[in-house]
Symmetry: C2
DNA sequence: CTTAGTATTTGAACATGTTCAGAATTGTCC
DNA sequence: GGACAATTCTGAACATGTTCAAATACTAAG
């Protein structure tokens, strides 16, 4: 009896929304439809969620909550950089899988002002958490980069992951095979590139890269 | 008298729309507002433009039409790869400058199904044209890449340009200085990287890169 | 149990992108 | 010029995200 009734209503609306989203896609889903499916009036949906977008956000946050312990456990027991990166990225694919298309509503916005953008302040908590995963993946993994570049590596890997997910969301190939191939090959490329990054020949690129990262991420 | 009146009306609506967009931003601009500013009824706006988005598209096409001869002339008289790349990219910045914010409405959509997405079929003509510019910039410029990678270079440069523009659109720094720094540094990096790309040490990356590009661009 | 206050829920109303039946205008042929 | 057709234009109506005043359900204090 202590499961507050309102909690239950909120859950019911979220569940109904996800169901309608899966069935008709985010755009074509109607708030009235969602409300009806949840057995409430439109107003009720807005009592629990600020906007249609906010429902997606709630789903995103819930997913992150589910993935976090899973990713942390995997990171704990993985030792190589590769297996750690796989731990983070593969978990995402698995958890988001059933709602892949819904992610389109999230990743469709590149405007950092848009609440659902991966770069917005609204998603910053999740983003920072994700970047934290990559920081842990990189930690004492033997990667040796110039100190001017190293601090940015987790953020760069996060960007890489976002790119992968974006590709995945719009990948129409059977079972998203193309994304999986892309995943395998890019991951290998990154691992090779990180190994090669130390060689002196690439020194001229290091300075440029460092300055560049400073501009992009510095005092943002 | 042969400037058909309808042409004039269409132009007036487009001009009014751009003005309202500049003043209040794409999102906050109202079709009713635009119509009023143009001195017509809403319906008229829809007679000439399929949708609010289509107005932005018309602006995009018109801009491309203006930029093309300019870029082609610059390409003609430039000889080095660097100056050619600058010809393409700088022209974009200059021409789009006064309507920079409006480009947000264009680049905000990563969904390839969305008409305004840089990856949509609606924008494919402009995209192909742009990629053509980069193909000409690369042609007999002395860049030596593995034959498995070379065909993709123009598309990769186009992607680079899109990334730059995206950054620019949302760059809040004074006069978009950060973008300009990013532009300078990344351009230099690309030029250095293209020079270094030939060295045998990077052979393992070549094969991976080739396979990867095949997956991303092949049979799309 | 009653009452007052709070939390939840309702549905009509609003804003805005879009549609469409028809009005107004223009063009064409005699 | 007049009659008919095509073009251009109008504004009311519609769909959908969102708001909000009012109704209802719930809770705690007496």
């Amino acid at each position: 009896m202590k499961i507050k009734k309102s909690e239950e209503t909120r859950r019911r609306i979220l569940e109904a929304a996800l169901s309608v989203f899966r069935e008709r896609g985010f755009e074509r889903a109607t708030m009235r439809e969602i409300a009806t499916a949840a057995g409430v009036a439109v107003g009720a949906a807005y009592y629990y969620f600020e906007s249609k977008d906010a429902i997606v956000m709630a789903f995103y946050e819930r997913s992150q909550g589910e993935m976090r312990p899973q990713i942390e456990a995997l990171l704990e027991r993985s030792k190589t950089l590769e297996s750690r990166l796989r731990a983070v990225i593969s978990t995402k694919f698995e958890c988001f899988g059933p709602n892949r298309k819904l992610l389109g509503a999230l990743s469709a916005h590149s405007d950092p002002e848009h609440p659902l953008s991966p770069f917005s302040k609204e998603t910053s908590e999740i983003r920072e958490q994700d970047i934290g995963f990559f920081a842990r993946a990189v930690a004492d993994s033997g990667v040796k980069l110039p100190p001017s570049i190293e601090p940015y590596l987790p953020r760069l890997l996060w960007m890489y992951q976002m790119g992968l997910i974006l590709f995945w969301v719009y990948d129409h190939s059977e079972e998203q095979r193309r994304t999986m191939v892309l995943y395998e090959k890019t991951l290998k490329m990154i691992l090779v590139a990180l190994k090669l990054a130390g060689i002196p020949l690439l020194r001229p690129l290091h300075r440029l890269a460092a300055e560049l990262l400073e501009v992009v991420y510095g005092s943002e």
